[in-house]
């Protein structure tokens, strides 16, 4: 039996190289003869480019070449495509204005690409860029969504005069309106989901190389999905066929969604590398990352909840404006729609739901998926609204949730917003969380705080998310322009060690360990016999990458299926050698055995026979032990859970201390409990960061005021608590591994728990609303205003 199989907290395989400084991140890669690029970016949020004068810059020391948007346009470089087409309420398709990799004629946000300067050193490229003279005609910019929607707004894209990308709806408006007619209570809320900047610690980077002898391009880039980049950039932007384009992303220093998208720099570098016939490297500075990495969230929502006399939810009506930024990013259109409105039932039995979403172009960085992507926005709205309903009806926040919760005998549960939840037990995780957070003892702790002049509050949030993205047929019907299956190749070597090629991507999640555990369990071997290969389109056949907590839920079953094909074939080989019938061969704990006898072969012995087929059923099967599988799930998986936050607020200063944060999550089968806990903890920090610290701020002219770590408040060790994290799982029913996904739960469940706790603490002072991030200043001002 494998001692490092499923369920064991195996220490991570990948750690040793990171701990000894031998990771292989994109900026660590250098090619012989490599040049360096600096990208000149727009200082204006909205301007026409009247002319670009590169004459002086071209003569600067070390400068090899300079290219502008006009050069790319004259080469007929294509537009960066959007991966998901949404339709308007009237059935017409969304507005999809062109997204040239380098701005041509017009710049649309501060940071938009204007020119690439290629030089012998990075410093020379940067020095050279300062000699470029761009004549801009500065135009009025629209930064907030209201600016874009106002009558005198200029269009961000001339071919979209309304500045509306799409106006979409989900759910039954008529039945929902009818539910409100019958309601005893109607509770209304307006919330803003604050705009965030993802800030993976590794800035984006790329090294592009063109080999004129073979006509092949190689791009090393910081991506979560190399095959998707190959497809988007190759087929749509640069017209390079797949067999001539290799995308590599070895170690990637965090993504959180921000490294899913096909970024302009990838296309610019790849295109330019052929122009200069030398490798080119570009690495973003952090200040550049702030103004070019896709941002997250940025919703403004108003919603109403209809309840009957007893507090039962009858209907939910939601109207959201979502900022989509200056351009449609790869998944920008799917985040505020199918990853958002489809979760509006939460864990509740609300029978009638209607949600409409308008997405708005603004002169800001594109907005796209950031950890949770749509589901944190939904959960924040729902759980703030439920708490408000509890306050307004006088029903306890625990009771109102219990009263409306889907019960464990109601599965599969069809929601009114398209999804069918496969399996779960929401009351179980809810009750466990209440117990673990000592909810009952809160009153005592509150009076203790009060005796010290502090306000104490407790906040609850439940959540559900659809992940394991996604069943291709469903995604396709909803507008996805690609399949969302996953592939795996399991190659057993002659001596029984194994290499697995997966189309998912590891950038901190520990796949090199957990995927190896899965293989170890299947073959009855240990993880040190298994190598996981990912992040190279030259090695891995195909894949859709890692996001949406899909790697184990979709990539895992692909590996499992390939392992099962290996076992099936190996049984035939074993039966032949043991001179038995195949049906008599059992495979258990790494041994092929004839049932009821002591005649057996080890996994390694059968592997060797497959590659040294001297005694082999050659008429029946081929030599070798190497199998492929593609897996497409039948449904999403649905992690769910309950988060409880307890805070103490100092009313004199507005300072907030998190005294306890409890998360009980149902993530399905746990492959490695150590890694699962780490994933939840990291997600919680990002969710608590959103609630208390982080917020992207632009000034009216579109300059990013939070453009560095001096201005954008990242969570630091001394403002995070220790987390009380546990799992309470019902095994998943949507995939054969019975997993659900864990990458995003922390960031989804936590923000409303924090805000509900603060509002609970401030309730006696008359404060009924606070927006994120709830900084001490904001809290203090809210207290003063209420007095």
């Amino acid at each position: 039996m494998s001692e490092t199989g499923i369920g064991v907290p195996v220490k991570r395989v990948e750690d040793r190289r990171f701990l000894t400084g031998r990771g292989n991140y994109t900026d660590d890669i250098n090619q012989p003869g490599q040049l360096y690029a600096w990208i000149l970016r727009s200082p204006h949020a909205h301007a026409r480019i009247k002319s670009v004068d590169i004459k002086k810059a071209k003569e600067a020391p070390g400068v090899i070449a300079i290219f502008t948007g006009a050069d790319m346009a004259s080469d007929e470089v294509g537009s960066i495509p959007c991966g998901w087409q949404i339709h308007n309420k009237d059935g017409s398709p969304m507005n999809e204005p062109a997204h040239p990799p380098m701005a041509f004629e017009k710049v649309r946000h501060v940071g938009d690409q204007v020119a690439i300067v290629i030089a012998e050193t990075k410093a020379q490229a940067r020095d050279g860029s300062e000699l470029i003279s761009v004549d801009y005609e500065v135009l009025k910019a629209s930064i907030m969504m209201n600016d874009s929607l106002s009558k005198d707004a200029l269009p961000v894209h001339d071919d979209v005069p309304s500045n509306i990308c799409f106006d979409w709806e989900l759910g039954d408006k008529e039945s929902t309106d009818a539910a409100f007619e019958e309601a005893d209570h109607i509770v209304s809320i307006e919330v803003v989901n604050n705009r965030l900047i993802p800030n993976a610690m590794e800035p984006r980077a790329a090294v592009a190389e063109y080999n004129s002898a073979t006509g092949k391009y190689t791009l090393n880039t910081t991506t979560q999905n190399p095959h998707v980049i190959r497809l988007l950039m190759g087929a749509f932007v640069l017209q390079i066929p797949e067999h001539k384009l290799r995308i590599i992303s070895h170690d990637v220093g965090g993504g959180f969604g921000s490294k899913i998208f096909h970024y302009a720099e990838e296309a610019i570098l790849t295109w330019a590398s052929a122009k200069v016939s030398q490798p080119i490297k570009w690495t973003a500075e952090r200040s550049e990352a702030f103004i070019t990495d896709a941002h997250g969230r940025d919703h403004e929502t108003s919603a109403d909840l209809a309840l009957d006399k007893s507090g039962r939810f009858l209907g939910l009506r939601v109207s959201t404006n979502a900022n989509i930024g200056a351009y449609l990013s790869t998944f920008g259109s799917s985040v505020p729609t199918y990853l958002y409105a489809t979760l509006m039932a939460g864990v509740y039995t609300t029978p009638n739901i209607y949600c409409e979403v308008k997405t708005v172009f603004t002169n800001t960085v594109p907005v796209d998926a950031y950890r949770g992507a749509g589901r944190p926005e939904c959960t924040y709205l729902l759980e703030r609204l439920v708490n408000k309903a509890a306050n307004e009806t006088g029903i306890d926040p625990v009771e109102i949730r219990k009263k409306n919760m889907i019960q464990s005998d109601q599965f599969p549960y069809q929601t009114p917003v398209a999804l069918q939840y496969d399996v779960g037990d929401y009351p179980a995780s809810f009750n466990t969380a209440l117990k673990s957070a000592d909810y009952e003892g809160f009153a005592d702790r509150k009076s203790d705080s009060e005796s010290r002049g502090k306000c104490r509050g407790i906040g609850i949030s439940t959540y559900i998310e659809a992940c394991g993205i996604a069943p291709s047929a469903v995604a396709g019907a909803l507008g996805a322009r690609a399949g969302l299956y996953e592939s795996a190749q399991v190659r057993v070597h002659p001596t029984g060690s194994v290499t697995v090629y997966t189309g998912t991507h590891n950038h901190g999640q520990g796949h090199e360990t957990t995927f190896a555990q899965l293989v170890a369990e299947s073959f009855g071997i240990e993880v040190d016999q298994v190598e996981i290969s990912h992040g190279d389109t030259g090695e891995v056949q195909f894949g859709m990458g890692t996001y949406g907590s899909r790697s184990m839920a979709v990539g895992g079953p692909a590996i499992l299926n390939a392992c099962n094909k290996i076992i099936e074939k190996a049984k035939k080989i074993a039966a032949h050698i043991l001179e038995a019938s195949e049906s008599d061969v059992e495979f258990k704990d790494g041994v092929f055995q004839i049932s009821g006898t002591d005649r057996e072969l080890s996994f390694a012995e059968v592997s060797l026979a497959a590659y040294v087929p001297h005694n082999y059923p050659i008429e029946e099967i081929e030599p070798g032990l190497d199998e492929n599988a593609f897996y497409d799930p039948l449904n999403f998986s649905f992690p769910a859970g309950c988060h409880i936050c307890e805070v103490e607020v100092d009313p004199e200063t507005g300072e907030i201390e998190i005294n306890n944060f409890t998360a009980v999550d149902d993530v399905g089968r746990v492959i490695n409990p150590m890694i699962v806990e780490g994933q939840v903890q990291g997600g919680l920090a990002q969710g608590i960061g959103q609630a208390l610290l982080e917020g992207c701020v632009y000034d009216e002219s579109g300059q990013l005021l939070t453009g560095s770590y001096m201005d954008y408040t990242m969570p630091r060790a001394d403002n995070m608590p220790n987390f009380n994290v546990s799992t309470q799982s019902v095994l998943g029913a949507s995939n054969p591994l019975e997993v659900k996904g864990v990458g995003e739960v922390g960031a989804i469940g936590s923000p409303p728990a924090v805000i509900n706790a603060i509002l609970d603490a401030l309730n006696p002072l008359g404060v009924s609303d606070i927006s994120m991030p709830a900084s001490p200043l904001k809290v203090w001002q809210a207290i003063q205003k209420a007095q």
Binding site: E120, T121, R286, G508, G678, A685, A717
Partner: protein, 167 residues
């Protein structure tokens, strides 16, 4: 000679000498070269990372004469004659430093990008305070950002590493 040959058209540059991970090194550098660039680009020691440009994130922490320093915030020439150690110099052969081992045992890293700076910084904490409290660890990490772990397991790792370093 290719067009990208860095030796082409170079003016005579000053020479900097120091000891890095116990080895004497000496190179011509442009005067504006940062210590982190020198380590990464001239010496190929890419374990030290650059995560920001405002001296905030700490991914670049190394030891200069035994004390932690942000190598993005000093010029290579300021390290003239110094004894510099980086993440690559910590393990002895296959044996990890106790602080490295503690990070591995306690799942104190995920993507690994901030990790070298965290480990180097943590070792300097233990040098100045061999029995830090949890609060002291959290305050010490003021200059090191991690986006993956939520710090929970980093703090746990450093407390365990501090203990192991005493053993």
């Amino acid at each position: 000679m290719t067009r990208g040959d860095p030796t082409r058209r170079r003016k005579k540059m000053p020479t900097v000498s120091m000891t890095v991970n116990g080895k004497s090194v000496s190179s011509e550098v442009e005067p504006r070269t940062l210590l982190v660039q020198y380590l990464r680009e001239n010496l190929g020691l890419t374990g030290t990372h650059v995560g920001c440009d405002t001296s905030q994130c700490g991914a670049c922490v190394v030891h200069v004469n035994g004390e932690s320093a942000k190598s993005c915030t000093m010029l290579a020439m300021q390290a003239e004659g110094s004894d510099v150690s980086t993440i690559e110099g910590l393990a002895e052969g296959d044996t990890l430093h106790p602080m490295q081992e503690a990070f591995r045992d306690n799942h104190g890293l995920q993507c690994g990008f901030c990790t070298p700076g965290m480990v180097m910084s943590a070792i300097d904490l233990v040098r100045t305070n061999n029995n830090p409290s949890e609060q002291e660890v959290r305050e010490w990490l003021e200059g090191n950002l991690c986006r993956c772990t939520g710090y929970h397991n980093i703090v746990k790792s450093i407390l365990a590493g501090a203990k192991a370093m005493q053993g």
